[in-house]
């Protein structure tokens, strides 16, 4: 049973057992406009919670993607190299960015659930 949480930087993180998958939310993808390029972290890279993990580029802007929780990168979505449009088409599914092994699951539990995130988005 997987559990999805959200950050106030508009990243989502889904935990399946020990493996976490990270991407950006539909709200973020819509705000960015057409995604033209994604810079993914190297496999094996260690990131802290809130640390820069990836970069997503639209034509006129480059935005940093932060790791919602600390851990080690185990896989990246190489499909995005050829098809960055996947981030716009299916940001919360096939447009995932990278997978991580978390160091501390407590960091995950502290994040917003989908109801809290929906409320947060309304305030913006």
């Amino acid at each position: 049973m997987s559990d999805v949480r959200y950050t106030d930087q508009h990243e989502w993180i889904r935990l399946d057992g020990d493996e976490a998958t990270i991407g950006i939310t539909k709200f973020a993808a819509e705000s960015l406009g057409d995604v033209v390029f994604v810079e993914l972290p190297a496999s094996g890279k260690a990131v802290k919670a809130g640390g820069e993990a990836a970069v997503v580029e639209s034509v006129k802007a480059a935005s940093d993607i932060y790791a919602p929780a600390g851990g080690t990168v185990t896989a990246t979505n190489t499909v995005l190299e050829k098809e960055p449009s996947k981030v716009n088409e299916d940001p919360e599914g096939q447009g995932w960015f990278f997978k991580m092994k978390l160091t501390d699951k407590a960091e995950f539990s502290k994040l917003m659930d989908s109801a809290a995130y929906a409320k947060f988005v309304e305030t913006l």
Binding site: D34, V36, V59, K60, P84, S85
Partner: protein, 525 residues
């Protein structure tokens, strides 16, 4: 009567429906134009003798294959570039309101002077006795730049504004090192042009952003609070990127110096104050001057520029090579370039070299021509007219367009944001594109970042009142229509330019950055 019965109708006749497709794809004087590679037919546009050369002096490195360049005759080449030129907007065609770019008139006398053989056909490494006129010209330009700014020294070699920023920061870096200190932080306002933090990072510093106050000015208190023994410098633009003069600048400079740091001033907006205010009197340590902005050297489709940097007493010693000095050993009034760091005069500690040779001489000739033409009184009048024109536009438009800092006067540029478009469905981008259909180049869009949907208008002093009135009338009407939600002009604009909106997403996702021969066609040949 005998009659010449070959008369022809001479009335205006019926209108040709604009929607009918032409056979050629061209429409009247609007010509489409292929790439030169597509026009290639193996002709030649120069007449040169065919000389055979042996291999014996080529070290075995003779080219084995063709370069692959297209061949056209001279008439075809001229026609190609003339047709391309007609697809461009230019200052000579109309008002070019790009804020922060200073799109003023480019005098043609500048072009004539730069092309005098004594300047244009002069080699940078020719014996210095044969280039004294050029060295004297540079010296005269240095005099103008230092006296207009009230600064003691100027480094002439930077090739553009951003290059000048780098020069200034490297001089600051050298000065700090010479004091035996280690300061790594640079304070940059959040409203700064992107070159400022980029240059700071490039020069090995970390960037610490200073917020702007709601009135568009830099938060001087926040800035002072950030000063400390690890701060190397601040980078401020004055007038700032919101078009406002930073009135607290003298206090800021004092605080910066007391903290042992340096004050870099981005001179992009010098056109507001040249001949009226001397930045040296404000306490700055370094400022680059965009000769292609304030001093009318042509923008040329994106370059070349020139960015000499005036320097304070504290930084003058670190100016990069080459240094221009009076030549004591030569005849009276002669000059010498010092190109060797080790041969720098007593007290000079150049931090290095910014580029090969001596700087953008071609732009120096043009800038000096402009300065001599205007004189100090003309430079001053130009600045006053630039500020007057921007305020005229602000006063005329702020009833329909939202000016976040419109309560007080602006300097040489007027800043609007997109609040007046809220709820209309029209964005800053749409508004700008509609201006294209009206025959105007849009203003600077989405900069500075401190206001939403920014529109920065800089008319310069080169516009007649009639031109300004016409521009105001068009923008006033566009704004009024947008607010009334009459969006036909805006949706999908521009409609009348040589191209409609271009797919920038596709260009970035699948970059095609050069022409490539068609492989199928090649195989068939």
């Amino acid at each position: 009567m005998s009659m010449n019965n070959q008369g022809r109708p001479s009335g205006a006749g019926e209108a040709f429906p604009a929607s009918i497709a032409t056979i050629s794809g061209d429409r009247g004087l609007d010509h489409e134009e292929s790439l030169i590679f597509e026009l290639d037919h193996g002709a030649v546009g120069v007449d040169l003798p065919d000389v055979k050369v042996g291999d014996n002096r080529l070290g075995g490195m003779r080219r084995k294959g063709r370069v692959g360049l297209p061949g056209l005759s001279e008439p075809e080449v001229i026609r190609h570039y003339v047709r391309l030129s007609r697809m461009n907007y230019a200052i000579d065609s109309g008002l070019y309101p790009l804020g922060s770019c200073t799109m003023k008139h480019n005098p043609r006398l500048n072009e004539k002077m730069a092309r005098l053989p004594g300047f244009g056909d002069l080699h940078p490494l020719a014996p210095q006795s044969t280039t004294q006129g050029a060295l004297e010209l540079i010296s005269q330009l240095m005099t103008w730049l230092t006296r207009l700014t009230g600064m003691p020294a100027v480094a002439m070699s930077p090739k553009a504004g951003a290059h000048g920023e780098l020069c200034g920061l490297l001089a600051i870096r050298a000065a700090i090192a010479a004091r035996g200190e280690d300061r790594k932080r640079i304070l940059v306002p959040e409203s700064a042009h992107g070159t400022n933090p980029a240059t700071a990072a490039f020069a090995g510093f970390t960037v610490d952003e200073v917020p702007a106050k709601p009135n568009g000015h830099v938060d001087a208190e926040a800035l002072k609070a950030k000063l400390g023994p690890d701060v190397a410098a601040i980078m401020l633009t004055n007038p700032n990127t919101c078009g406002l003069f930073e009135g607290e600048i003298i206090e800021i400079a004092k605080a910066v110096h007391e903290a042992g740091a340096y004050f870099y001033c981005d001179g992009a907006n010098f056109n507001a104050i040249a001949g009226k205010v001397r930045p040296g009197d404000l306490g700055i340590d370094a400022m680059h001057i965009n000769l292609h902005k304030t001093f009318s050297t042509p923008h040329g489709g994106g370059g070349p520029g020139a960015g000499p940097v005036v320097l304070s007493e504290r930084l003058a010693a670190h100016a990069p090579i080459p240094l221009l000095v009076a030549d004591g050993a030569g005849p009276k009034g002669s000059f010498r370039l010092i190109e060797d760091m080790a041969a720098a005069p007593e007290g000079a500690k150049p931090f290095g070299r910014m580029c090969a040779f001596h700087g953008q001489m071609g732009m120096f000739v043009r800038a000096l021509t402009y300065m001599l033409s205007h004189g100090r009184d003309g430079v001053r009048q130009a600045s006053e007219d630039a500020v007057l024109s921007a305020n005229y536009i602000l006063a005329s438009l702020k009833d329909v367009m939202s000016a976040p800092f419109g309560d007080g006067p602006c300097m040489h540029e007027a800043l609007f944001d997109d609040s007046f478009l809220e709820g209309t469905g029209v964005t800053t981008l749409d508004f700008a594109k509609a201006m294209i259909d009206e025959g105007y180049h849009p203003m600077t869009m989405y900069f500075p970042l401190v206001v939403h949907g920014a529109m920065l208008i800089e008319p310069t002093e080169s516009e007649s009142k009639a031109s300004l009135d016409r521009f105001i009338h068009v923008l006033h009407t566009l704004a009024t229509e947008a607010r009334a939600k009459k969006t036909e002009r805006f949706a999908g604009a521009p409609h009348l330019a040589p191209r409609r909106r271009l797919d920038e997403t596709a260009a970035a996702r699948k970059p095609v950055l050069r022409w490539k021969p068609d492989p199928l066609k090649q195989a068939a040949e």
